[in-house]
């Protein structure tokens, strides 16, 4: 059971007033709010042991290094990676995807193929398009149906011996669909293709075991995981990470440097050039601990009850259509009301203190698929309540009366 009162107290921002109304934060799929323990962890770092890691002999540097590496271990355990050096700190999912895509420029050849899906975020489309431009590889797109569910038969058809990479979002940011990554991994692996999973939307809601699922690459953003912005992780199998060249050159990532030749450091440092976001990395470990204290199962159960409640309440509004009707969803509802532009509705809701996302959600191919300019997206977290959903539904009715 969720102790909602206690949990809401962990998030001071939820007390904010917007235009005189209590803030209702339903934009969790864009950025989750940060609990006090995580903010305190950042402050503690800067107040007590701020210093550079992996290179100083002094006390502060050792403390900072220990805390940073401890966080890597927390993340290793959370995702059940075999080794801690398979966890690379990044600035977020986009960085992780670009790191892998950039590395594959040396591996892919003309005629190779990459499969992605119709429901990808732009950050899981554009880096692969850039990779195709560099290598002459071809992009293939796996389609979805009108419920926003991947058509798995099509996957089997387009995945073949030419397929070198399959990239897929674990959960769609715009629709909330949880994709069947087990099946996708199985289809891809039977064709010897490597799979990168964009876990930005999944990691806050679903416990992931990368070994059990045999995942090759998995990327995560800290700011969607109760952590700070500007930090995330790339998980990669040791063997695959070793195949990739360094992404950026600089300090930290080297073994020996002379002007004739530089040899690179091993994992994970090979991919962590320069001074990283140390406070962010440490705080991300704290955020993951915080989530585990509540428990992934408890969170999933509670958020699912919010999703079901909000779905049934919203569908009572005449003319309201939900995009993304998979049976397997996280607590994301993308919708439109007949003839009302999402921007207009979002503007009125903002005036009432309700934060929702409007627009194409950086997933224009999905909007093209449904032939709409965008949607309103309400995405819930475990600190949200049914009362907040009631207020949103009432506010939508009020806005609708103004706008139609």
């Amino acid at each position: 059971m969720i102790d909602i009162k206690k949990i809401r107290n962990d998030f001071p921002i939820l007390n904010r007033k917007i235009n005189g109304n209590q803030l209702i934060y339903f934009d969790n799929a864009a950025t989750s709010q940060t609990p006090k323990v995580v903010v305190d962890e950042i402050a503690n770092y800067y107040y007590n042991y701020n210093s550079n890691i992996h290179r100083g002999v002094h006390k502060l540097s050792q403390e900072a290094t220990d805390a940073y590496e401890k966080s890597r271990k927390i993340l290793q355990n959370n995702f059940n990676a075999k080794y801690d050096h398979e966890v690379i700190f990044t600035s977020g999912s986009t960085h992780g995807i670009n790191l892998v895509a950039s590395g594959y420029a040396n591996i892919l050849k003309k005629g190779d193929e990459i499969i992605l899906s119709t429901m990808e975020h732009h950050s899981n489309i554009v880096p692969w398009q850039m990779l195709c431009e560099k290598t002459g590889a071809k992009l293939r797109v796996a389609p979805m149906d009108t419920n926003g569910v991947l058509i798995m038969e099509e996957y089997s058809k387009i995945c073949n011996k030419k397929t070198k990479l399959v990239v897929i979002s674990h959960v769609s940011n715009a629709l909330g669909t949880i994709n069947p990554i087990e099946s996708i991994l199985s289809i891809a692996h039977s064709n010897n293709a490597v799979v990168l999973i964009d876990g930005a939307q999944a990691a806050p809601h679903i416990k992931i075991d990368v070994q059990d699922l045999d995942i090759d690459f998995y990327v995560v953003s800290g700011h969607k995981l109760m952590g700070p912005t500007g930090v995330g992780i790339l998980y990669g199998k040791e063997r695959l990470l070793n195949l990739l060249p360094p992404y950026q050159g600089g300090g930290e990532m080297i073994d020996q440097v002379t002007f004739e030749k530089t040899t690179y450091a091993g994992l994970p440092h090979k991919f962590e050039a320069g001074t990283p976001n140390i406070a962010g990395g440490i705080a991300l470990g704290k955020a993951v601990e915080y989530i585990n204290e509540i428990g992934y199962e408890t969170i999933a159960k509670y958020e699912d009850s919010l999703l079901k409640y909000a779905t049934s309440e919203l569908l009572k509004i005449e003319g309201l259509k939900i995009y993304g009707e998979s049976k397997n969803k996280t607590a994301v509802i993308s919708f439109n009301i007949k003839s009302i532009h999402p921007y207009d509705l979002g503007t009125i809701l903002d005036k009432l203190g309700i934060a929702v996302r409007t627009g194409h959600h950086c997933a224009q191919p999905i909007m093209d698929f449904f032939e709409i300019p965008g949607t309103i997206r309400a995405s819930f977290s475990f600190y949200n309540t049914k009362q907040e959903i009631d207020f949103m539904v009432e506010s939508i009715k009020r806005a609708k009366a103004m706008l139609v």
Partner: protein
Amino acid sequence: MKKIASIQEEIIDEFNLFDDWMQRYEYMIELGKSLPIIDSKNKIDDNIINGCQSKVWVYAELKENKVIYTADSDAIITKGIIALLLRVFSNQHPSDILMADTSFIDKIGLKEHLSPTRANGLLSMVKQLKMYAVAYQTQLK
């Protein structure tokens, strides 16, 4: 034709009659609904100002040394602000348009809509209105 400054004063006075944001927005929505329709031959991709979320079309022509603007948007609140902007800028001499500012938007409590962080295309629209004025002023010289 009234001067730009006095039209702006008029609008500020009108908005002062409203007690709260609801009434202001209801008025803007009414203005949006009553915005004269842009000629379909001018509602083309070339005249679109892309503003992330709502599309804005703007077109201008010169008649008797005055710039006549027509515009549209797919979002109604955006259309309401367009109606206000056109009431201020349309049917004015290019040099007057170039000198005018849009601070009245701030004074009527709609500042956020002309903020650079607002992804609605309106700020780009104001720039485009002025660009047309620059072009027509050059033509007049």
